[in-house]
C-alpha cells in the first residue's frame, strides 16, 4: 500500500473541502476503501477520516419515514426495531449483506459507494484493460469469466454489476440521498455505465453524503428482501429483490407495488415495468409470472451469466408471494397460498 497522508477532518465542511482535491478520498468504515487499496485499485494520496464527525450518524424513525445518518453502521440499522417494523426490506437487505464483522464496521454512506465485484476490475496488474478503472482502456470481462456480471443496464463499455443490497431497498421505496447541498432520489443517484462506467453516481468531488431519508409507505411496511446465492451467508447476490406491496381494501387488488432487483444490473434496478403490470390487478400466480418476466426486457447475457435472466423473475415472484401472503389471510389471495 502506498504512503498517503491522513487527515482527521474537524468538520463536514473541512472534509468536503479537502475531498475536492485530486487523489483525496473519504474514509468511513474503510471496508471498501482498504480492500481496494490493497488490490491496487484505490490509490489515495490523502485519506480524510470522517468517522468521528458529529451530525452524520443516528437513526430516526417517525410516522413520516426514516432518517438514517451516513455514518450509521450497517449492523445498527439492520437491528433497529423501528426500521425493522416500518421498512423490513431495508433491515433485511442489510442483515443479509456481508458478514457481522463487516456490518459492525461499515457505514450506510460507504455502502452506497461500494464498488463492483467484477474480478477484472480488482486485478489491475494482470488486467490493465478496464473502462471503469481506466477510462478508454477496454473491458477485460467481456470474453472472460462473467458469471457475476450484469444482464441489465450494460453498455459496450462495461457489464459490471452493482453488488450492493441496501441500495435496492432504497430505490424501491423512493429514498432520497442527502448531501450537504442537495437531495437526490436514490434512483437518480446511481448512473448507468454508458460510455462513462467510471462515473457510478451523481456525487461531485467533495460532496459528502450526510444521510438518507426514506418516506414511510404501506408498501415499505409490508416489504421483504430476498437474496439468492449459492452460499447461505456472506456472498453477494446471484439475484435479489426488494419488494413491497399494498393491497386495496379487498385484500387482493394491488394498490401499490415496488420491485427492485439486484445482482443482475449495472445499477440498483427499479423494475417499473413489473410494478406497472401489477398495479390495479388482482394478484394471482399467472399475473405474477407474466409481470415478473417483464423485468428482464432488454437483458443481455455474456454466456456465464445467462442464468440470471431465468433466475431474477423467479426471485421477484417469490418475494411478491411472500409479501402477498404475509399479512393477509392466504384465502384472500387468489391462488397464492
Amino acid at each position: 500500500m502506498r504512503d498517503f497522508s491522513y487527515l482527521r477532518a474537524a468538520s463536514t465542511e473541512e472534509a468536503s473541502q479537502a475531498a475536492r482535491e485530486a487523489g483525496a478520498m473519504l474514509l468511513a468504515g474503510g471496508t471498501t476503501l482498504l480492500d481496494l487499496a490493497k488490490c491496487g485499485v484505490a490509490e489515495p494520496d490523502t485519506v480524510i477520516d470522517i468517522t468521528h464527525l458529529s451530525g452524520l450518524g443516528g437513526i430516526a424513525v417517525d410516522a413520516n419515514g426514516a432518517m438514517i445518518g451516513a455514518l450509521a453502521k450497517m449492523g445498527e440499522v439492520a437491528d433497529d426495531p423501528l426500521i425493522k417494523a416500518a421498512f423490513p426490506a431495508v433491515a433485511e437487505s442489510l442483515s443479509l449483506a456481508a458478514s457481522q464483522q463487516l456490518r459492525n464496521m461499515a457505514t450506510i454512506g460507504g455502502n452506497l459507494l461500494q464498488r463492483t465485484r467484477c474480478t477484472y476490475f480488482r486485478d489491475p496488474a494482470v488486467f490493465p484493460a478496464c473502462n471503469k478503472r481506466n477510462p478508454g482502456s477496454g473491458c477485460s470481462a467481456m470474453g472472460g469469466v462473467t458469471r457475476n456480471h450484469a444482464v441489465l443496464g450494460t453498455s459496450e463499455a462495461c457489464i459490471a454489476s452493482n453488488p450492493g443490497d441496501l441500495a435496492l431497498a432504497l430505490v424501491a421505496f423512493d429514498a432520497v440521498i442527502e448531501t450537504g447541498s442537495r437531495k437526490v432520489a436514490a434512483d437518480d443517484f446511481f448512473l448507468l455505465p454508458g460510455h462513462t462506467p467510471e462515473k457510478e453516481t451523481v456525487l461531485q468531488p467533495g460532496e459528502i453524503i450526510t444521510g438518507i431519508s426514506i418516506p414511510a409507505s404501506a408498501a415499505a411496511k409490508n416489504s421483504t428482501y430476498l437474496k439468492v446465492r449459492d452460499r447461505q451467508s456472506y456472498e453477494f447476490a446471484a439475484a435479489s429483490a426488494a419488494v413491497g406491496l399494498e393491497f386495496e381494501m379487498d385484500g387482493k387488488t394491488v394498490r401499490d407495488i415496488r420491485v427492485a432487483l439486484g445482482g443482475v444490473a449495472t445499477k440498483p434496478w427499479r423494475a417499473r415495468a413489473v410494478e406497472k403490470a401489477l398495479i390495479g390487478k388482482v394478484l394471482d400466480l399467472v399475473a405474477i409470472e407474466k409481470a415478473t418476466k417483464l423485468a428482464m426486457e432488454g437483458a443481455v447475457s455474456h454466456g456465464d451469466n445467462h442464468y440470471k435472466i431465468d433466475l431474477a423473475p423467479r426471485v421477484i415472484a417469490r418475494a411478491i408471494m411472500k409479501v402477498a401472503t404475509s399479512n393477509v389471510a392466504p384465502s384472500n389471495v387468489g391462488g397464492l397460498a
Binding site: D3, R117, A125, V126, D230, R231, Q232, Y307, L311, R314
Partner: protein, 762 residues
C-alpha cells in the same frame, strides 16, 4: 522448542489412549497465545514480497528495477538475472539431479502468477509500493490455460496408473445394463486460514526457518540441499500450523527466496504470501475429468468397470491427481480397466489436497454407481451391498480390515434410510425438493517409520519429544495420552515438544500416516523408558523397590508398585528421587534394528521408507459411507445440505473427540467441494480469476448442518502398532458424491461436474 502443558477435561480416563481428551493446545490457540511462524519476533527484521508474472507463458526479457530500488525503504531487489548459487533439491520421489542450479525466480515463465521478482524492504508495505515501479518486459509464448482449453490435447497416459484385469471391454459390450458418464472436478484450493510464509534467519552458516510445516525434517533437508549446507545446520521450527490440508508438506520457491535474501542481506527476512498468492504459488487439487462405463446384469451385479481419467499437471512437473485411485477397490468386479492421463497446462504444479486421488475418484465411481442403481430401479444402498468387494483384486490381497458393510448398514440405520421414497422428486416441502444420497470413501493406510524420545524428569513429569507436527489434528494430545497410558500417570503430568527439525525424526503429517507412525514410536520409546526404570528400580541399591522380590512393576493411578502389591508404592518423582536421577532419556525408532545414521536420516527426510497399503500381506485402507440429505429450492436451484450421517472404519480411535473433529472437518470441506469451490480460469491468459477469499467460496457455518459421525472400526494391528488406520483424509472422500446423488434424488437432475452451483439446476 515449545512446551505443551496438557489441560484435562472430563474424567481421568480421558487421558488414556482412546479417551476423549480435549486438544492440549486448544486454549493457547483460542486465546491467541500460540505463536505462528509469521509472528516470531526477530530483531532487525526486513520484509520480502513477490512480484508475479502477468503472462501465462514466455520469457522475462528484462526487469527495470531502478525506480523501485530508489523507493523508500527498499533494500534489495532479486530478479531472474540474479544467480542464487543454489542447487535443486531432492523431489518427492527422492530424485536429485547432480549440481543443477536452482532459480527460485526463473526467467522462463510457466504460469500466470509465477513469482519472478522479489522486493526486500524495511516494511512489507514499502516493498509492495516499490514493486509497482518495477517494469518487466516479457516475450510471450503460446499457452495452454487449463484442461478445458481446446489446445490442451490428450496429455500422456501414466503407465504406472494403468490397472486392468479380466476383459472389461468385452464384458461391458455383453452386459445387459450399461451406464456411461463423464465426471469433472475443478481446480480446488486448500484455503488454510494461516497463509504460507516464513521467517528466515542466518547465524553464520546456520539457518533457522520459522515456517508452517507438515514435515519439519523433510523441509529442513530441502533447505540444506538448496544451500549445500549440512542438514544439521538447518533448523525448521513449526510448533503450530494454521491448517495445511496437504499444502505445507514441502519447501517452496518463496522459502528459497526468503532464505537467500536473508543470507545476502545479513538480516532476518519475513515473507508472507498474500491471500491471492496462496492460490498461485503452490498447487491446489488439479482439475480432473473421468469417463466411467459400468456394465451390470439386470439384477445389478457389476460385470465391468471401464475408467478413463485425466488430470491437469503443470508444464514443468508431473503431479497426477489419480482419478482411478478408488475405482478398483470399492466394488467387486471381475472385469476392470482404468487409465489415467496427465495433461500439462500452464499452471503451477498441482499438489496434494485432502484425500488426493481418492477424492475425485470416489466422486466418479460413486456417482456412477447411483446412476446404475436408478437405471435398475434399485435402492442405492442395496446395489452397494450387492456388489460388496470381498478382496482387493488389484493387489490380489485380502483386506486387513474392511468394515464398509457395517459403515453402510449402521450409517443407513442412523440416517433412517429405510424411510426413503425411491423416485426422484418424490420428497418435497412446498418449493423445497428433498433428496438423499450415499457416497462411499476410502483412503489407504500408509506407513512410515518415526522416532521419539521420552524424558522422565526428577519431578516426575514425563516429556515426549519429537519433530512431528500438529496442524490441529491432535498430535500433541494423543502423544500425551500415549505416554500417560504407559506410565499410568495423569495426562497433565506429560509435556509434549513438537515441531522442530532438531528433534527426533518423524513421518510427514500427510497421507494420514503420522498418527499411526509417531504413536508407534512414542509407545515404543515410552515402554522402553518404563522398562529401563523398572530395571533400575529393581536393581539399584538405593531403590525401595529393590528387595520386594518382584520381577516387574506395575504403573497405574500415578503409582509404581510391585504387581501383587507386595511392598512399597511410589510415585514417579519419589522413585526418581530415590534413584537420585535428575532425568532419564530414552529414544526409540520404528526402523529395523541397527539402521545406520544415514538410513535414519533418509527415513525422516524422504519418502524412501514409506510403505503403501499393499506392500505387506494385506490390502489396508480406511473406509467410510456418507449419507447426505439436501434441500433444493425448485425455482432457484440453490442446494443446502440439511443433514449428514457418516460412518467410518478407521480402525481403533486413539482419541474419538479429535477423530470426530477431523472427520467433520473433512465432511465440511466436502460440502464446499460439492457446492461451492471452483478455481475459475480465464482461458485467454490462464489466470485463475477468483483466486482470493472473497470470490473463491468455502462454506460458512450456516452452510453446515448437523453432522453425525459413527465409528464402526475395530483395531487393525497390521495397519499400525496400536491398531489405528488413518482418519484425516478419508473424511472428505465420498462426500461430494453423496451430495450430488442426493441432488439427483431431489431434482431428477444429474450434475456430473462440480461444484453444483445454482445455474446447473435451474
Amino acid at each position: 522448542m515449545t512446551i505443551m502443558e496438557p489441560r484435562k477435561h472430563g474424567d481421568a480416563s480421558d487421558g488414556m489412549i482412546g479417551g476423549r481428551q480435549s486438544r492440549f493446545e486448544g486454549s493457547l490457540k483460542v486465546t491467541g497465545a500460540a505463536t505462528y511462524a509469521l509472528e516470531y519476533p526477530a530483531e532487525n527484521l526486513a520484509h520480502a514480497i513477490l512480484v508475479q508474472a502477468t503472462i501465462p507463458a514466455g520469457k522475462v526479457v528484462s526487469v527495470d528495477k531502478a525506480a523501485a530500488l530508489a523507493a523508500p525503504g527498499v533494500l534489495m531487489i532479486l530478479t531472474p538475472e540474479d544467480d542464487f548459487g543454489m542447487t535443486v533439491a531432492t523431489d518427492w520421489g527422492g530424485n536429485r539431479p547432480d549440481n543443477q542450479p536452482y532459480y527460485p525466480l526463473p526467467r522462463d515463465v510457466k504460469y500466470n502468477g509465477e513469482p519472478i521478482v522479489a522486493v526486500v524492504a524495511e516494511s512489507r508495505e514499502q516493498a509492495f509500493e516499490a514493486a509497482k515501479l518495477i517494469c518487466i518486459r516479457y516475450e510471450a509464448a503460446p499457452h495452454v490455460a487449463s484442461i478445458a482449453d481446446p489446445k490442451a490435447g490428450e496429455g500422456q497416459v501414466m503407465d504406472n496408473l494403468t490397472t486392468k484385469w479380466g476383459d472389461a471391454e468385452a464384458a461391458f459390450a455383453a452386459a445387459p445394463v450399461k451406464i456411461e458418464g463423464e465426471y469433472r472436478t475443478p481446480r480446488e484450493y486448500h484455503v488454510a486460514m494461516e497463509p504460507h510464509g516464513l521467517t528466515a534467519k542466518w547465524d553464520g552458516n546456520e539457518l533457522t526457518i520459522w515456517e508452517p510445516s507438515q514435515w519439519s525434517h523433510g523441509m529442513a533437508r530441502t533447505y540444506s540441499e538448496w544451500f549445500n549446507i549440512p542438514y544439521e545446520d538447518v533448523r525448521l521450527i513449526s510448533p503450530f500450523i494454521g491448517g495445511g490440508f496437504g499444502s505445507k508438506g514441502g519447501a517452496l520457491a518463496h522459502g528459497a527466496v526468503a532464505a537467500f535474501a536473508s543470507r545476502k542481506l545479513g538480516r532476518p527476512i519475513r515473507l508472507a504470501l498474500t491471500r491471492p498468492q496462496n492460490f498461485t504459488n503452490y498447487g491446489g487439487r488439479a482439475a480432473t475429468y473421468q469417463s466411467i462405463k459400468l456394465g451390470a446384469t439386470e439384477d445389478g451385479i457389476l460385470q465391468s468397470i471401464i475408467h478413463r481419467g485425466a488430470s491437469e499437471t503443470s508444464t514443468y512437473a508431473t503431479w497426477p491427481e489419480q482419478t482411478g485411485a478408488a475405482t478398483p477397490i470399492l466394488y467387486k468386479v471381475e472385469n476392470f480397466s482404468s487409465q489415467h492421463r496427465v495433461v500439462p497446462v500452464n499452471s503451477v504444479t498441482p499438489g496434494a489436497l485432502r484425500g488426493p486421488g481418492k477424492n475425485p475418484s470416489s466422486f466418479g465411481i460413486e456417482s456412477a454407481m447411483e446412476e446404475l442403481a436408478y437405471k435398475l430401479n434399485m435402492d442405492p444402498l442395496d446395489i452397494r451391498l450387492k456388489n460388496y468387494n470381498d478382496f482387493d483384486r488389484q493387489s490380489n490381497k485380502p483386506w486387513s480390515t474392511r468394515r464398509l458393510r457395517e459403515a453402510l448398514t449402521e450409517g443407513a440405520e442412523a440416517f433412517g434410510w429405510s424411510k426413503r421414497s425411491h423416485a426422484p422428486r418424490s420428497m418435497r416441502e412446498g418449493k423445497t425438493l428433498i433428496g438423499w444420497g450415499i457416497g462411499c470413501g476410502t483412503f489407504p493406510v500408509i506407513q512410515a517409520p518415526s522416532e521419539a524420545m521420552i524424558r522422565i524428569l526428577g519431578n516426575g513429569r514425563v516429556e515426549v519429544v519429537s519433530g512431528a507436527i500438529d496442524m490441529g489434528q491432535g498430535t500433541y494430545t494423543i502423544l500425551a495420552q500415549t505416554a500417560a497410558d504407559v506410565f499410568g500417570i495423569p495426562v497433565d503430568q506429560v509435556e509434549v515438544h513438537l515441531g522442530d527439525s532438531r528433534l527426533p525424526g518423524a513421518a510427514i503429517a500427510g497421507g494420514s500416516m503420522l498418527a499411526g507412525s509417531i504413536l508407534g514410536a512414542v509407545h515404543k520409546a515410552a515402554t522402553a523408558a518404563r522398562d529401563e526404570l523398572i530395571g533400575l528400580a529393581l536393581s539399584d541399591a538405593k531403590s525401595p523397590l529393590r528387595d520386594t522380590g518382584a520381577n516387574t512393576l506395575a504403573f497405574a493411578g500415578g503409582r509404581i508398585t510391585p504387581p501383587r502389591g507386595e511392598g512399597p508404592s511410589l510415585t514417579l518423582p519419589e522413585l526418581m528421587a530415590a534413584l537420585g536421577r535428575e532425568q532419564l532419556e530414552t529414544t526409540r525408532n520404528t526402523l529395523p534394528d541397527g539402521a545406520s545414521a544415514e538410513e535414519q536420516r533418509q527415513a525422516w527426510t524422504t519418502m524412501a521408507k514409506v510403505q503403501g497399503p499393499t506392500m505387506g500381506e494385506f490390502s489396508m485402507h480406511s473406509w467410510c459411507a456418507h449419507f447426505a440429505e439436501v434441500r433444493v429450492d425448485e425455482d432457484f436451484g440453490t442446494v443446502r445440505v440439511s443433514r449428514m450421517v457418516s460412518a467410518f472404519d478407521c480402525g481403533r480411535l486413539y482419541n474419538p473427540r479429535l477423530v470426530e473433529s477431523q472427520w467433520r472437518g473433512g465432511i465440511i470441506m466436502g460440502i464446499g467441494q460439492a457446492l461451492l469451490e471452483e478455481g475459475l480460469v480465464d482461458l485467454r491468459n490462464g489466470r485463475t480469476v477468483n483466486g482470493n477469499a472473497g470470490d473463491y467460496l468455502v462454506p460458512t457455518n450456516s452452510d453446515i448442518p448437523d453432522i453425525q459421525t459413527i465409528s464402526v472400526g475395530v483395531p487393525d494391528y497390521n495397519a499400525s502398532a496400536l491398531g489405528g488406520k488413518g482418519v484425516g483424509e478419508v473424511g472428505i472422500v465420498g462426500v461430494a458424491a453423496s451430495i450430488a446423488n442426493a441432488v439427483y434424488h431431489a431434482t431428477g437432475k444429474r450434475v456430473r461436474d462440480l461444484p453444483i452451483t445454482l445455474e446447473k439446476l435451474i
